[in-house]
């Protein structure tokens, strides 16, 4: 059912033809290109249609159509400046904090339009959590870092419930055993990998449906990276995860679907195994074989 509905939506495409003059110079992508591969999924958690982002008069991303399924890890890859982080930040409207940024198109979370004025952006961000490139724990204790979200959203009444949420979140983030005896120490005193897991715990604590990760391992060493990747795999049971990464090995290891972006467009999307073994678009193939990037 769902699938057919989505398919029909697809059939209604293409939307108004893209402007003939492509603002991004030296563009090897032919104008009006369509995404290769199946952009829909059977059980979508989030859907985006014709999403474009303008930074002032500069095009950030153009006409991105992509579904994100329940309990899947979607990896977004592509060269720097290709718009994958921009698209990620559209999903929880983090681009709102950038003054010159303008987003058009429809993004739905469980069928609700995230740009609906009746939907509070604060509620949206509680449902779509985010983990950033550089670990950014608040200069507070480990406990207060995790309890921050539940407190501002009133998710816990009293110390006992807060304690329970903090413990559960830290356990899910695989950090509990390392910090259980020093919850009152500052979160900034942890190692880089621990800090990033603390940030994941902080995001989990508000019980989001989707977790967005913007290159979560780029500031970490290989061991800490491996730990986070394991964690992502475990989290898939309960959450939908979208991860932006520059490491193709990482994308191959953690994700079920992979989307390849190039110069603000979604070039190809598909099963991770298919993208990495049998890419259908030349640009994708060039990128994953390391011919450019």
């Amino acid at each position: 059912m769902n699938a057919t509905a989505s398919e029909m939506l697809l059939v209604n495409e293409p939307p108004p033809p893209p402007p003939p003059a492509e603002p991004v110079a030296a563009d090897p992508v032919p104008a009006g290109i369509e995404t290769v591969g199946r952009i829909t999924v059977d059980q979508p958690r989030m859907t985006s249609r014709n999403v474009s982002v303008m930074y002032g008069d500069k095009m950030g991303i153009e006409d991105v159509n992509l579904d994100i399924g329940k309990n899947e890890v979607l990896a977004m890859i592509g060269p720097s400046g290709c718009g994958k982080s921009t698209f990620l930040r559209c999903l929880n409207r983090m681009n709102d904090t950038v003054d010159v940024c303008r987003v058009t198109g429809t993004i739905r979370l469980d069928g609700e339009d995230v740009h609906d004025p009746r939907l509070d952006v604060v509620q949206l961000r509680a449902r779509v959590g985010m983990v950033f490139q550089k670990p950014n724990p608040f200069p507070k204790s480990i406990y207060d870092n995790v309890a921050y979200g539940p407190r501002i959203h009133g998710l816990a009444e009293g110390r006992r419930e807060t304690d329970a949420i903090v413990q559960r979140s830290l356990e899910k983030a695989g950090l509990w055993n390392e910090v259980r005896d020093r919850l009152e120490q500052p979160g900034t005193g942890l190692s880089g990998g621990q800090q990033q897991r603390l940030c994941i715990a902080r995001a989990i604590a508000v019980s989001p449906e989707v977790i967005l990760m913007d290159e979560p391992c780029s500031a970490l060493d290989p061991i800490a990276t491996a730990r986070i990747e394991e964690l992502i795999d475990e989290l898939r049971e309960n959450y939908t995860i979208v991860i932006v990464t520059h490491s193709m090995q990482q994308a191959a290891r953690v994700s079920q679907r992979t989307a390849y972006f190039h110069l603000g467009r979604l070039i190809e999307v598909g099963e991770t195994s298919q993208i990495f073994t049998n890419p259908r678009h030349d640009l994708t193939e060039d990128y994953i074989t390391g011919r450019f990037g």
Binding site: N92, M94, T97, V122, Q123, L124, R125, A126, G129, M130, V131, F132, K134, N136, P137, F138, P139, K140, Y148, G149, I152, H153, T188, C199, R202, A203, V206
Partner: protein
């Protein structure tokens, strides 16, 4: 030759030395195949020659000028008749003063006897000789320096390193000027304060509740108790500083939060300089604003409300002082709020926090140490502020916590103790130095604490 002309000649000589040194460098390098075989660029050889020429000469000149008058005086005194030389030192000083006045053509105390006139003539003669001799010696030293430098120029001479070393010494000297000045101030205040504590015990000064510094000059003089209990002054200073901070801390902080977090760039670019104009208003202008506008306004309002308000009240001075230090607080707080990394804000927004929650729970706690540092600096500024309180706070040393009363502050009392003709051996005048010492100690401690806090904060994010 006058000093100014001598300095000009020295500068010209240094310029010549630069030119000669440079030319010499080219000359010695020519047989080797050009300037690229020199250790340093030719300009460095020129600079080195100029420094060799000017620096020793200037040192000699400075020494000469600083010792000249003493030597000349000694020579003149030794030429005076026996009975004059046998006078006690103070009287002898007076005589020397008279001679100097004669030389400069000023009015002389008492009659001018021929001996004095002769001495003055001798003084003038010696001065002239000294000036001529100094010019000759300085120029000889300069030329000698130039000669040495010229001879030393060789391809292997590390002129660049030597010039840079000399420049570094110059930089060190400049950077220590402020330090030595501070030490000098501390010592001068300290010695006078110790003299004061010889008259008035330290405990009386620090713990006494009565301040009335008028000393009886005659035995039977009335109303001159000469009490030096400084507690009312400290209390007045604290009261006014407290009032000032209750104005400046919240207003400055909220202004900083608005400017840093909410204001559009356009508004910010106008409002921030405008706020900083407040810091540029001379304090004396604030002072008469406080005395002529704010104080009467408060008094009239008080009268309407049935309160007894002094025409010079702590409230008026404190309020205006508070306005004066708003820019300190807001500017420093603005800087530390901007220094909080954007990633922390993003982290908070990403969890669904609103902007105000982010400011209250993440940004301000992260910026708190820096804000505290800024507040401490503002307090030390308020404590040391003089002009506003002189004009608006009054002179009455009341020990009161009522902001509607007139109070006086440490700075006001220092001013009143030292203004006008004063004898510098009475406790009344020396008390100013004791007060200055206390003030200096307090603001020093506050500044050290503030700098420490600010530095600790910086370490956190770099």
């Amino acid at each position: 030759m006058t000093g100014a002309a001598l300095v000009l000649v020295l500068l010209a000589l240094a310029a010549v030395a630069f030119h000669l040194g440079r030319k010499r460098a080219f000359a010695v390098s020519a047989p080797l195949g050009g300037a690229k075989h020199l250790h340093s660029l030719p300009g460095y050889y020129g600079s080195l020659a100029a420094l060799w020429c000017a620096v020793p000469a200037v040192i000699v000149l400075v020494l000469w000028l600083s010792l000249e008058s003493r030597i000349v005086e000694n020579l003149v005194v030794s030429g005076l008749p026996e009975e004059v030389r046998a006078l006690p030192p103070e009287r002898l000083d007076l005589v020397v003063n008279d001679i100097r006045n004669l030389v400069e053509g000023n009015i002389v105390s008492g009659e001018v006897d021929p001996e004095m006139r002769a001495a003055a003539g001798r003084y003038r003669e010696l001065q002239r000789t000294s000036a001529a001799a100094s010019a000759v010696v300085v120029l000889i030293v300069a030329v000698a320096g130039l000669g040495v430098a010229w001879r030393r120029v060789a391809p292997a001479l590390r002129a660049r390193n030597q010039v840079e070393r000399i420049v570094r010494f110059f930089l060190i000297a400049c950077s220590t000027v402020a330090i030595f000045t501070t030490i000098g101030i501390v010592l001068s205040v300290l010695f006078e304060a110790i003299r004061f504590f010889g008259h008035v015990p330290l405990t009386d000064f620090l713990l006494g509740l009565d301040w009335s510094p008028q000393m009886a000059i005659r035995e039977d003089q009335i109303g001159s108790s000469g009490a030096f209990g400084a507690v009312p002054l400290f209390a007045g200073t604290l009261l006014i500083s407290f009032i000032a901070m209750t104005v400046a801390a919240p207003v400055g902080l909220f202004a900083a939060v608005y400017l840093a977090e909410y204001a559009t760039p356009a508004f910010r670019s106008v409002a921030k300089p405008a706020l900083e104009i407040l810091a540029g208003v001379p304090t004396v202008v604030y002072g008469f604003f406080a005395a002529l506008v704010v104080a009467p306004l408060i008094r009239d309002t008080g009268t309407v409300l049935g309160l007894d308000v002094a025409s010079e009240s702590a409230l008026a001075a404190g309020l205006v002082m508070g306005v004066m230090i708003i820019p300190f607080v807001s500017s420093l707080s603005d800087d530390v709020i901007n220094a909080v990394p954007q990633s922390l804000r993003d982290g908070s927004y990403g969890l669904g926090a609103t902007r105000s929650e982010t400011i209250r729970r993440v940004v301000l706690p992260a910026a708190l140490p820096g804000i505290v540092g800024g507040l401490l600096l503002a307090i030390s500024r308020a404590i040391g502020e003089t002009m506003i309180v002189v004009m608006a706070a009054g002179l009455a040393a009341n020990l009161t916590a009522n902001p509607l009363q007139a109070v006086t502050t440490v700075t006001v009392q220092i001013v009143t103790l030292l203004v006008g003709d004063q004898e510098f051996d009475s406790p009344k005048t020396l008390a100013a130095f004791a007060l200055g010492l206390v003030l200096f100690t307090i603001t020093l401690c506050l500044n050290v604490a503030a700098l420490h806090v600010v530095r600790k904060y910086r370490e956190q994010y770099e």
